[in-house]
């Protein structure tokens, strides 16, 4: 029989790696495209554009005067939407993960109430 701790841990591990990937993709894309004054030319670019969907990276260069601070918090818009918003979302997901997804498995080896590390040779 598959160890239930292994099965549950693997499920939780995959969930968390997906959460990390989603945060990574969103934050890196949003902050890089929306928060940089200067964008380096893409190393694979052969012309002015790196693809039909994205266009030339220089098109995303920010003009300093375009900066806004949402909700009057004094946080630059790209930090607010690119870092703080997903950060709050990640904290909420973490709370939901712990409350509803995380299994409270019994970690003690079967038949042992509690193992004392190193006791077999103390």
């Amino acid at each position: 029989m598959i160890d239930p701790v292994f099965r549950n841990s693997l499920r939780e591990c995959l969930f968390l790696l997906l959460l990390w990937l989603a945060c990574c993709l969103y934050t890196v894309t949003y902050c890089y495209l929306g928060g940089y004054l200067v964008h380096e030319p893409h190393p694979d670019a052969t012309g002015p554009s790196i693809g039909k969907l994205v266009g030339p990276l220089t098109a995303f260069d920010r003009h300093p005067q375009s900066l806004t601070t949402p909700l009057g918090l004094g946080v630059p818009d790209w930090v607010f939407y690119g870092v703080i918003t997903p950060w709050v979302a990640a904290v909420v997901i973490t709370i939901l993960f712990c409350l509803y997804f995380f299994a409270e498995d019994d970690l003690s080896p079967p038949g042992l109430e509690r193992d004392e590390p190193g006791t077999s040779h103390d």
Binding site: D3, C24, V28, E40, T69, C98, L107, P117, D122
Partner: protein
């Protein structure tokens, strides 16, 4: 240099006294428990608060309170992006491995990470390689951390330059070695809790004070944006830094110090308005003495620019230091700091280049250094999302804590606490040190490492006794962060030597009394050796910390993670992953030993390459050498349900200790 208030001294002494009391209490508890498991793993009984704070405090090294504030001060809001993966670092670094690692460690009775690897793959060689790697990276890291601890004491107590570092080192070493050796793991955990509380409390109290002093974040951003283009030169030699600000629209790119390459040359300024703005530099040909050494001081250059007919009206020149402290320059002349230090160029370099930075550059990415290089390009942005959340999983120091908690519920609560801790520390630090750039406007690149101390002494220290105490608590925060990392690493080395090498490889039948003496002695001796090595520390402190953190992850994450979650992982695959990751990291960082830069292949941090090579080799070699032995797969991936079988688990633990496994 900064003044030390009595409140700072009293708070520091009270803090160190608390640490000693905790060590004494822990030592008393040690006498009532099984020694080895208690000394190195706290009897696997950590509660959620203890687990959360020891995990977070161990992860937050001195860099969190010295290097990170310095970077925020220098580059601004882009550091929020740099640190962004901390949004999931807590839940990932604890949740991905925590429960499963704890379960496997309980099954085998493992008390160290090499223990886990040796048992999971049934390989002594793997265990010994793991121990050797831990010792290598940990000693490197400890030298850097000891240096950081000594520097914090030297700076905080304003100790004289000629013996201040040595005194700081001795105070730091005696404190940390004593409480670690005497109290063991539990003392380390308890002090971590204390240190974690100090960190959160300090940051939480400082945030509103600093924002109010700056007039609110909107006002702070506006002041940053309106700041005229500024250039700060910081050339080796000391006390020669210059601040050059444009009086109107900027019509030049920066400043170049040049060596005229001849003796007895006068100081000359060259500036050509015909050259395009982007390539136009103020060229300063430094004066030289009869032996060809540069002899111009910061003051000479200031006067030359001010007297230049075209540059004088365009630029304002000053020194970054606003005090009038008397110092001695390298020729023995007593002078005011920031006035007459000689500008010296490296012998292998004929020019030093600095660029003007506009105020609004700290409101956006990618950030530029005063040498003009981008701080956080795309490759680094991707790498750093791996760095904190993924690399954080692969640290033996934090993995060890995942073997020490009591039950699943404890882990769950600790994940929530650590997530809150990271959110309450790292994001507020960005706000505080963006504001610090307005409150203390002209720190150069080297001095920005002192941003935390200066904020607490200059900004907060002037606001009355209550704020002086807050300042003292904040000065203690980086000290606490360094101590919490050092104590864990000291124990990790001594557990590697005593448990992994001596007990499990050389003399499995060693008595408990000998183990106890060896554990105390090893911790003290390792601490003393590191102290000696730190008396002549390397300069590149932050690079060592990054190197060792990345090296740990590249070496350990793959064999531990795939060993826990993939039945097909073989010992050959694990060994290849460890050797491959280790080799890539050492190879990519090797040029830094000779004054060069690390290798950032395709713009990505070596950490990412180390992880890719390690996981790639682990997977491919395991596929080629598989399948994994059936008895190991059954033991670690299938449930053992009968009491008889569970007894045999204990028996296997005994035979393993006897060296027969």
């Amino acid at each position: 240099m900064t003044e030390t208030s009595p409140a700072t001294i009293i708070t520091f002494i009270a803090y160190i006294a608390c640490v000693f009391v905790l060590a004494a209490l822990s030592h008393r508890l040690l006498a009532t428990k099984s020694f080895l498991g208690e000394y190195f793993l706290g009897s696997r009984g950590l509660g959620s608060w203890a687990l959360a704070f020891t995990f977070a405090a161990t992860a937050a090294s001195g860099g969190s309170f010295t290097g990170f504030p310095s970077l925020i001060y220098s580059y601004g809001w882009v550091l929020a992006f740099w640190i962004a993966s901390y949004m999931v670092a807590g839940v990932c670094s604890m949740g991905v491995l925590g429960k499963r690692l704890n379960q496997v460690a309980r099954k085998t009775g493992a008390i160290t990470i090499p223990d886990v690897l040796r048992d999971r793959y049934d390989s002594t060689a793997l265990g010994l390689f793991a121990t050797s790697t831990i010792i290598f990276f940990t000693v490197c890291n400890l030298i850097a951390q000891f240096k950081a601890g000594a520097l914090i004491i030297e700076e905080t107590f304003n100790l004289p330059a000629d013996w201040g570092y040595s005194a700081g080192l001795i105070i730091f070493a005696v404190t940390v070695i004593f409480y670690t050796a005497y109290g063991g793991f539990r003392a380390v955990v308890w002090t971590d809790v204390l240190q974690g509380v100090v960190m959160v409390l300090g940051i939480t109290l400082l945030l509103p004070v600093i924002i109010r002093q700056g007039g609110g974040m909107e006002s702070i951003n506006r002041k940053l944006r309106e700041r005229p283009p500024t250039l700060i030169t910081s050339v080796a030699g000391g006390y020669n830094d210059l601040v050059i600000q444009a009086r109107g629209p900027l019509d030049t790119a920066g400043l170049l110090y040049r060596h005229p390459r001849r003796a007895n040359a006068p100081l000359q300024i060259r500036w050509d308005p015909a050259v395009g703005t982007e390539n136009r530099f103020i060229e300063v040909f430094l004066a030289t003495d009869g032996e060809g050494r540069t002899s111009s001081t910061g003051n000479d250059v200031k006067q030359a620019i001010e007297q230049h007919p075209m540059l004088g009206p365009r630029f304002r020149v000053s020194f970054p230091y606003d005090n009038s402290e008397i110092v001695t320059d390298r020729f023995g002349h007593r002078t005011e700091m920031g006035a007459t230090g000689v500008i010296g160029l490296d012998s292998d370099r004929s020019a030093e280049r600095f660029v003007f930075l506009r105020g609004d550059e700290v409101l956006f990415g990618p950030g530029r250094s005063n040498r003009g290089s981008p701080f956080h390009p795309l490759g680094m942005a991707i790498s750093f999302f791996f760095m904190w959340a993924i690399t954080g999983m692969g640290q033996p120091g934090t993995m060890l804590r995942l073997m020490a908690f009591k039950d699943s519920r404890t882990l769950k609560r600790a994940i929530l606490t650590v997530t809150g801790f990271y959110s309450m520390v790292y994001l507020p630090l960005v706000f505080i040190f963006v504001a610090a750039r307005v409150l203390i406007p002209e720190l150069n690149a080297e001095n920005s490492d002192k941003a935390m101390v200066l904020v607490t002494t200059r900004v907060v220290g002037d606001m009355g006794l209550a704020y002086q105490i807050l300042g003292a608590v904040l000065v203690a925060a980086p000290f606490a962060a360094v101590m919490s990392t050092v104590d864990s690493f000291l124990l990790m080395i001594s557990s590697g030597l005593v448990r992994d090498i001596y007990q499990r490889t050389i003399n499995p039948r060693v008595s408990d009394r000998t183990v106890k003496r060896a554990s105390y002695a090893t911790t003290v001796i390792v601490g003393m050796v590191v102290t000696l090595l730190a008396t002549r520390p390397p300069d590149f402190l932050q690079r060592i910390i990054v190197f060792t953190g990345s090296g740990f992850a590249a070496t350990f994450l793959c064999p531990v993670m795939l060993g826990l979650y993939w039945k097909g992982m073989t010992r050959q695959g694990a060994l290849s992953a460890m050797v491959g990751g280790f080799t890539v990291m050492v190879g990519f960082f090797l040029p830094t030993l000779f004054g060069g830069s690390r290798i950032d292949l395709l713009g990505l941090h070596p950490n990412l390459w180390g992880l890719m090579v390690s996981f790639g080799l682990g997977f491919l070699v395991s596929k080629g050498t598989g399948p994994a032995p059936t008895h190991l797969v059954e033991r670690y991936f299938y449930k053992v349900s009968t009491p008889q079988q569970s007894l045999s688990t204990e028996d296997r633990g005994q035979s393993k200790v006897d060296g027969s496994a």
